[in-house]
């Protein structure tokens, strides 16, 4: 149920972002299927505290790289 709720939000947001982002260039060769995604540690939007993608290891993850513009 939680996943469904997130994906509903995601679908709405993606629709908005695709309009905002407009056409994009051809897919970049970075992050191909079969690659390991780096355990990058970045500040959380919420409070600036470190968040690493490694913390989600052991769970399936939908990762969306985007911008609000």
């Amino acid at each position: 149920m939680k996943l469904h709720r997130y994906l509903t939000h995601f679908a709405i947001a993606s629709a908005t972002m695709m309009v905002a982002a407009g056409p994009v260039e051809a897919a970049t060769p970075k992050f191909r299927v079969g690659d390991r995604f780096p355990d990058l540690t970045l500040p959380s939007l919420e409070d600036g505290e470190p968040v690493s993608l490694g913390v989600f290891r052991g769970r399936k993850l939908v990762l969306h790289v985007w911008a609000s513009w």
Partner: protein, 374 residues
């Protein structure tokens, strides 16, 4: 579900999330450490951190049904690095980019000067390293938006973003960073048009919208194509002979920035003019009289969309806010070398709470340099 955003001003993402009532975790990658050249990118990543699908959610059911062997699936918690060790490493190192990036991310405002100096040092060793130019630009712009700004921080940011883009003209994220502050595009791009709608809908829900320290403006808001008045004669210089007394005490600190930092022949640029009361002498605006006025004298052959700009006084009698004005310019088709854009501002300013209020003029100029193809 996790997001990574490519933003100079992450508060805008916070507002977007509030508007769309999205609660999933977001990581902020203002330095573009991911190295992505485009957005959006959607990846489906399995329990071991391996990318299984890319590009859309059509494969979601197949992805969720996937079984992995369960090895290497222990969560790896994130920890905040030891800043003292990081700063010491950055001071002693000559080319360790990742330490400088970490210092920028986790050191915050107190370490921003050191991060900027370290990026500069890295560029002395490798002057054609595009990501370092981009990240130095991000750091300069961040300092510009802070209380520790130094003169020309914004201009330095734009210069380094421009160099980064020269090195890799296909980097869409870097290109957008310049465009959002630059002249309006021939085909207006709605970077942040959603902001106003978002605020209205959030307020209608009875919530308070996330505050934005830096409001979207200029090219960040889609608008009709640029219009240049040329040598319009319907306005005239309010002080053609320069008789108004100059602001010799520096009541108002003014700064002009050109985006992009260099212009090709026949190209457009955006001039950002910022006026800040000098807090050191407790200067503040006097709002009982005429608005702040900025008069522009374009060089021969140049066009501007405005010769005269003004900033409307707020309702309170005195105030000390930063005032921003922007205009667009276009170089002549045979532009080469360098010329100077001149102008002046007229304003009413008071020395301190009980001091006298004065009418002053400040002369301003901005070097306009031709873009040389790299």
């Amino acid at each position: 579900m996790v997001g990574i955003v490519q933003e100079q001003h992450p508060d805008r993402t916070r507002l977007f999330m509030q508007w769309k009532q999205m609660g999933w975790p977001i990581m902020v990658d203002s330095l573009n450490l991911l190295g992505v050249e485009v957005v959006p990118i959607t990846l489906l990543i399995d329990e071991q951190g391996i990318i299984r699908f890319r590009g859309n959610l059509e494969s979601l059911d197949e992805f969720l049904a996937l079984k992995t062997d369960g090895t290497d699936t222990k969560p790896q918690p994130a920890t905040r690095p030891d800043l003292e060790k990081l700063a010491a490493s950055v001071r002693s190192s000559k080319d360790e980019h990742s330490d400088v990036d970490a210092l920028f991310l986790w050191g915050g405002q107190p370490e921003l000067d050191l991060a900027i100096a370290s990026y500069q040092r890295a560029l002395e060793i490798d002057p054609r390293h595009g990501p370092t130019h981009f990240r130095l630009g991000v750091a300069y712009r961040q300092r510009y938006d802070s209380d520790t700004r130094r003169p020309d921080d914004f201009q330095r940011a734009v210069e380094h973003w421009g160099i980064a883009l020269d090195i890799n003209p296909n980097q869409y994220i870097w290109r957008r960073r310049i465009q959002q502050y630059g002249p309006r595009l021939d085909k207006p791009y709605p970077f942040y048009d959603w902001v106003e709608t978002a605020r209205q809908e959030i307020i209608a829900r009875g919530e308070t919208p996330v505050a934005l320290p830096v409001e979207p403006r200029g090219a960040e808001i889609a608008s009709p194509s640029k219009h240049f008045a040329g040598d319009s004669t319907d306005v005239s210089s309010p002080d053609p002979d320069g008789r108004i007394r100059r602001d010799e005490k520096g009541f108002i600190q003014a700064e002009l920035t050109l985006v992009p930092s260099k212009l090709a022949a026949g190209a457009s640029g955006r001039v950002h003019a910022v006026f800040r009361p000098n807090a050191g002498i407790k200067a503040h605006w006097n709002n009982e009289v005429d608005d702040l006025m900025f008069w522009i004298e374009p060089p021969p052959g140049w066009q501007v969309d405005h010769r005269r700009l003004s900033f409307p006084n707020p309702p309170q009698l005195v105030s000390s806010e930063e005032r921003r004005l922007e205009l667009e310019i276009q170089s002549p088709k045979d532009f080469e070398g360098s010329v100077t854009l001149r102008g002046y501002a007229l304003y009413y300013v008071c020395e301190d709470v009980r001091g006298s209020c004065l009418y002053r003029r400040q002369d301003l100029e901005l070097s306009l340099d031709a873009y040389d193809t790299p």
